[in-house]
Every structure is written in C-alpha cells, then in structure tokens.
C-alpha cells in the first residue's frame, strides 16, 4: 500500500476547538453568514446591481447618440451579478476566517452545512429584492423568471457551500480556491471540451457539469455569469447555455451531496490521524 508522507493537518486542539453537534455548528454557520463581513457583502451586492442599472442606462444613451435605438436588456445585465455574489456569500458562510474546517463528526458537519446554505440563501435576498424593485420602477413589470432564478441560486449555494467545506478540510484559503474553480477552471474546461474542440455538445456537458452561468440564464437566455465562458465567446462561438429548471436544481444538489460526502470522509480522516 502506498504510504504518503503527506499528513493531513490534524486537529490542533489548542488552535481549533472541534465543534460537535448539529445545532452548535448550525449557529456557527449563520453567524459566519451574518457577521460584519457578511453585512458588508450584502450591501456591496446591492450597490453592484445599482451600478449595473446605471451602466445599462449609460450604454443605452451612448447607443442612442450614435443613432442605434437599441435598448439593452436590463434584467439580463442585472442578473450577471448574481452568480458572483452567490459564490461569495456561500463561501463566506461556510468558512471561518483563516481556519481549517473544525466541524467534527457527521452531525457537526451536516449542521455546519445546512446553516451555511441557509445563511447564503438569506444573504442573497437583498440582491434579488433590489433586482425586483429596479425592474418594477424602471419597467413596471416583474418577470416571473426571478423566482426560478432564486431556486437555481439556492441550489448553487448548496453546491458551493459543499465545495468550499470540502476544500476547507485541506486548505485555509478555500474561498479563493472555490472562486477559481467555479469561475475559471470549470468554465474553461467546459469551453475546451465543448465549443472549442467540439468533442461534446454544450448541452450534453451542461447535463453533467453544472455551470454557474445557468443562474443568470433562466429567463435571460444565457447571457453568462461573468465567468471565463463569457470571455471565451470571443474565441469561438458559444451558443447560449442550455437551461432547464429541473436539471438546474437537481444537478447542483446531487453534486453537493457528493462534495458533502467527501467533506465528511476527509474530516473523518483528519480526526483519526
């Protein structure tokens, strides 16, 4: 049997007190989500969306001056901000600053996880509320796609929380790593396998690997979520990311369960060094 010299960092009883129990961990996660950094994050997400509204108005003005009477889709632009903030809030809710995961035993990890997902979803409500209010004030209607997008966003929070916690068993800067994976590595891989090399159809790939672009895609026809995939459109044509509500909810949740299982397993190995 291969013996590795790498030892996963064991629990340091002095530095990190392993938290046991579903309820204690649940509360810890919620506190993470609604800490000072969390509140600042919520405010920043609202400001981002307002900036995008201003940007859309400004671009419309530019286009109108050139004689092209095109009005850019407001909802699409606003929804671009959602994936970024979803991942930011989800990873923040799952982490304690500069620490490895100190939830212990299955119940504890589950408690930490459920709390993180709940916290992440709740902290995204101001952003969605801003979008609804802006649409109502500017356009006078509130398209129903908002609710579907919220459901997909919640499913994605579940995925990101599980992924962050899994990375956090080994790596302290799990938030940054999650960002890298979700916004750069996975879309890049999908782009290379799909539209670039043409090995697989983008629809098939999205049926196996959930792309965060789908959060903003519901009702806005795949404008992308500020991921690398959007930039790759300049290299090779990328058709709109295929979306289907059921798939967009089930797939991230099932991947989340896998990552959760891995988290439990890795934490178990750490505990029993």
């Amino acid at each position: 049997m291969y013996e590795s010299n790498y030892r996963a960092p064991a629990f340091d009883e002095n530095a990190e007190a392993p938290e046991v129990g579903f309820r204690d961990n649940f509360v810890i996660s919620l506190k993470n989500a609604f800490s000072v950094r969390g509140i600042i994050g919520m405010v920043a997400s609202v400001i981002t969306i307002l900036v995008l509204v201003y940007l859309q108005d400004y671009l419309n003005g530019l286009l109108a001056e050139r004689g092209t009477p095109i009005s850019l889709p407001l909802l699409t632009l606003m929804m671009i901000a959602i994936p970024v903030w979803t991942v930011a809030n989800a990873s923040r809710a799952s982490l304690k600053k500069k620490q490895l995961l100190n939830a212990s035993e299955t119940a504890g990890i589950l408690g930490r996880y459920v709390g993180a997902v709940l916290g992440a979803t709740l902290t995204m409500i101001p952003a969605f509320a801003t979008i609804i209010i802006c649409m109502f004030v500017i356009k006078g209607i509130v398209p129903m796609a908002i609710l579907e997008s919220f459901a997909v966003m919640a499913a994605f929070s579940a995925l990101v929380c599980a992924m962050t916690m899994m990375f956090n068993t080994r790596v302290k800067m799990a938030g940054a790593l999650t960002f890298l994976v979700v916004f750069v590595i996975v879309p890049l891989l999908v782009f290379l396998i799909g539209p670039f090399m043409g090995l697989l159809d983008l629809g098939t790939i999205c049926g196996v690997i959930p792309l965060v672009d789908t959060i903003s895609a519901i009702g806005t026809n795949g404008f992308g979520g500020l991921t690398v995939l959007m930039l790759c459109t300049l290299l090779a044509p990328v058709s709109s990311v295929p979306t289907d509500l059921i798939v967009d909810i089930l797939l991230p949740v099932s991947w989340a369960l896998v990552f959760l299982g891995l988290t439990v397993f890795l934490q178990f190995r750490r505990e029993n060094q």
Binding site: G67, P73, G203, T233, S239, S240, V258, G261
Partner: protein, 414 residues
C-alpha cells in the same frame, strides 16, 4: 368562397408588413376609430378557420385550368364580368415569373412564351379565433381571454417554367443597393453574417441581344406563423397597450435555373437560396404613456441558417448566411422604434396547453392538419432538452454522496 382566400391571405401578409411602419402615424387614432368595418377586420374574418389547397399535377393543361379558375373567381367577384382565357393565364404566370428573374438574376429578361406549370401544391391554413376579431373590432366578447393567438400554416411546392429572351446580358446577380437605411436594416447587418459576401455581387457574363433561355423556377416553402397577443384595450381605463408576439418558423428553398436555347451566352445559369432554418420570435409592443406612444420591437430569438448561390457555367459563387455571434449573446434586445428610450415591455407568453386544445377543437380538421404539418416541419429540433442524462447523473451522484456520508457515520461504529 374558399378560392378567394389565397389572394386575401397574400394581401393580409402584405398589409401586415406594410402597416407596421404606418402604425406610428395611426397610433393616436387607433382606439378612437370604429374598426368593425375596416379592411383589417374583413381580412381577419375571411381567414378565420379557413384552409385552402391547390394540387397541381403533371398535366399541364389541367394545371392551367386551375389557375384560370382561381383568377377568374377573384376577378368576377371584385370587378364583375371580366374573365381571362388560358392564353392570358400563361402570359400572366410568365410575367410574374420573369419579375422574379429580373430581381434575382438580371433585369434584362423578357417573357417569351412557353409557360409550364408542373406538379406541385399550395396548402394554406389559418385560424384567428372569433374572440380576437371581436376584441380588435371593439365588440363585447363573452369569453374573457386576456391572451389571444392566431396561427397560419403555409406549405408550398411550386415548379414553374417559361421561356425568356434577353436584350443583352452583361451582369447577373442580386441588386440590393437600394435597401433603405433604417434601424431595422442596420440591426439586420449586425445580426446576420455571411462568410462570402462577394457572392452577392454576382458575376459578369456576356450574352447577345436576342438570346433565348428556358427558365425554370422551383419554390419549396414550409412556414408556420403564430401570433400571440396581449392587450388591455377596452378592458381598463389605464394607458392602453397591445403586445404582439410573432413566432415565425420557416424552411425551404428557392432555385432558378436557365438553359440557353439559342443565341450566345452562358450555357446554363443557376441561382438560389436554400433556407435550412429561419426562426424568428419577436414581440411588437405598442403602448400609450400619457401623450407619448411607445413602439418597440423585442427580439427574443432570431436565427437564420441559409445558403445563397449563383453560377454561370463554370463560374460559381456561394455564401452561407447565418446569425452572427452577437445574436447568440444578446437575446431579448429591445429596439425602440419610437417613444421612450426605456420602454415598458409587456410579456406575452405562449398560450397554455388547455387553451390551445380548446382553440384546436374549434377549428376544422383540415386547418389543424395543415397548421400541424407546418409547425412540425419547421420546428428547430435542437430546442429539445433531453433530460435523461442529467437525471441519471444526478441520481448516481446523489446515491454516491449519501452512501459516503452513511459509510462514514455508521462505519465508525465497527
């Protein structure tokens, strides 16, 4: 009665596309007029639950007779008493055939006899629900539908031929220089890409005055047009609006080929447009906002995949026409034709299955058949999202995840 439908349907299509720019001028008067006697209402009533089929066989004489009957029935009801002969029908068909030639190939062709009408068919069906007509004309309707829809199906396979003579050719190709510059056409240029625009310039050929060619054209077209409307006109006192969602799917091909009979010039000239797929999903939104009238056009989807070719003997040029990358990225763009820069756009969603079933039950079977044939034949198959793989993958992953968690939780006890 049925035989007038084709002519009226063509008039309706032309009137619809012609009135769109004119709406801006009329919009202020729209709600005030009594529309029940207008030409639009007459046309709508004429194509309410109607189908029209013309079958053309290999028997040229019989086909000619059908065309003569058709034209005579339209003429007799409109101008009373004039009837055309078969020879005149030949000339009429030949004249319209050469009109197409003039635009598509060269302006120097004239009709020279020898009309041929080969086997083919024209099937048209349309349905506009009665309550939609009532609503537009302002009558009270018993049924309170907030969304209305109309459907048209068109299936054409026409093969026509005639002889043409030329008074000297020096160039063949499309003559598209006089397309007006408008917001729509500049948007079209941004949305539609070609990979060989040189094909549109045509080519230089030399044919002497008096050369005679035998021209044959074939047109295959399958079109489905669905119009879904949402309006509050006549229902509330708020600012009125009418939003029309137009879904147009089409595919088909048009080809024109000329073979030299006498004189000098290229042995054969051929040109055509093959439309693999045209899918348009537009919403036209007309709303009054105080004293301003906002008219905007939202493009939900605009996909085109076509090929244009032109050739004379060995010289051959072709180009693919497709939607540009820009279109794939920016859907639901709104073009403001007049009024506010950020207009309120009204959602018009597709009709529910139950409402569709009820409307279909009210139609005749032939109308349903033709419309279904057009709808199925032009549906873009890549729209279907196959859920099998994702569902299987989700199930497997979920089981794996739960298995690992359970194994860790319950395995520790052993």
């Amino acid at each position: 009665m049925n035989k007038k439908i084709l002519a009226l349907l063509l008039v309706f299509m032309m009137a619809f596309t012609a009135t769109l720019p004119a709406v801006q001028a009329d919009a202020d008067d729209e709600e005030d007029n009594d529309l029940s006697d207008s030409i639009i209402i007459k046309i709508l009533e004429a194509i309410h639950n109607k189908s029209y089929t013309v079958e053309l066989t290999d028997d040229h004489a019989a086909n000619r007779a059908i065309i003569v009957d058709l034209i005579n029935s339209v003429l007799s009801s409109e101008s009373g008493g004039i009837a055309i002969t078969e020879e005149f029908a030949d000339i009429l068909v030949g004249y319209y055939a050469t009109m197409v030639l003039k635009y598509v190939v060269s302006g120097d062709f004239e009709y020279n006899g020898g009309t041929d009408i080969d086997a083919g068919y024209v099937k048209a069906a349309s349905d506009i629900p009665q309550y939609m007509i009532d609503l537009i004309s302002g009558k009270d309707t018993e049924v309170d539908y907030s969304k209305m829809f109309a459907e048209c199906g068109l299936s054409i396979d026409l093969n026509l031929g005639c002889d043409v003579n030329t008074d000297g050719l020096d160039h063949i190709g499309l003559d598209i220089n006089d397309m007006e510059s408008s917001p729509i056409s500049s948007l079209l240029t941004a949305l539609i890409g070609t990979d060989n625009p040189d094909a549109f310039n045509g080519m230089d050929v030399v044919a002497e005055d008096g050369s005679i060619y035998s021209a044959s054209a074939n047109l295959k077209l399958l079109t489905y047009l669905g119009i879904f409307a949402d309006s509050n006109i006549g229902k509330t006192d708020k600012d009125p609006y009418a939003a029309l969602r137009i879904v147009l799917n089409a595919n088909g091909k048009f080809g024109e080929s000329l073979n030299r009979i006498s004189g000098t010039g290229p042995e054969s000239i051929r040109t055509g447009l093959e439309l693999n797929n045209l899918s348009l999903d537009l919403v036209v939104d007309i709303a009054k906002n105080g004293s301003k009238t906002n008219i905007s056009l939202t493009i939900n989807k605009a996909l085109i995949d076509a090929k244009y070719y032109i050739g004379a003997d060995g010289d051959y040029k072709e180009t693919a026409i497709h939607n540009s990358n820009l279109m794939a990225m920016v859907n639901e763009t709104t073009i403001v034709v007049s009024g506010d820069r950020n207009p309120v756009t009204h959602e018009v969603s597709i009709i529910t299955d139950a409402e569709m079933a009820k409307a279909r039950a009210d139609r005749s079977q032939t109308v349903n058949d033709i419309i279904d044939e057009a709808k199925d034949g032009t549906e873009n198959e890549t729209e279907e999202i196959d859920r099998t793989i994702p569902l299987i993958v989700s199930a497997v992953l979920a089981i794996v995840g739960i298995a690992v968690i359970s194994a860790v939780k319950f395995g520790k006890k052993y």
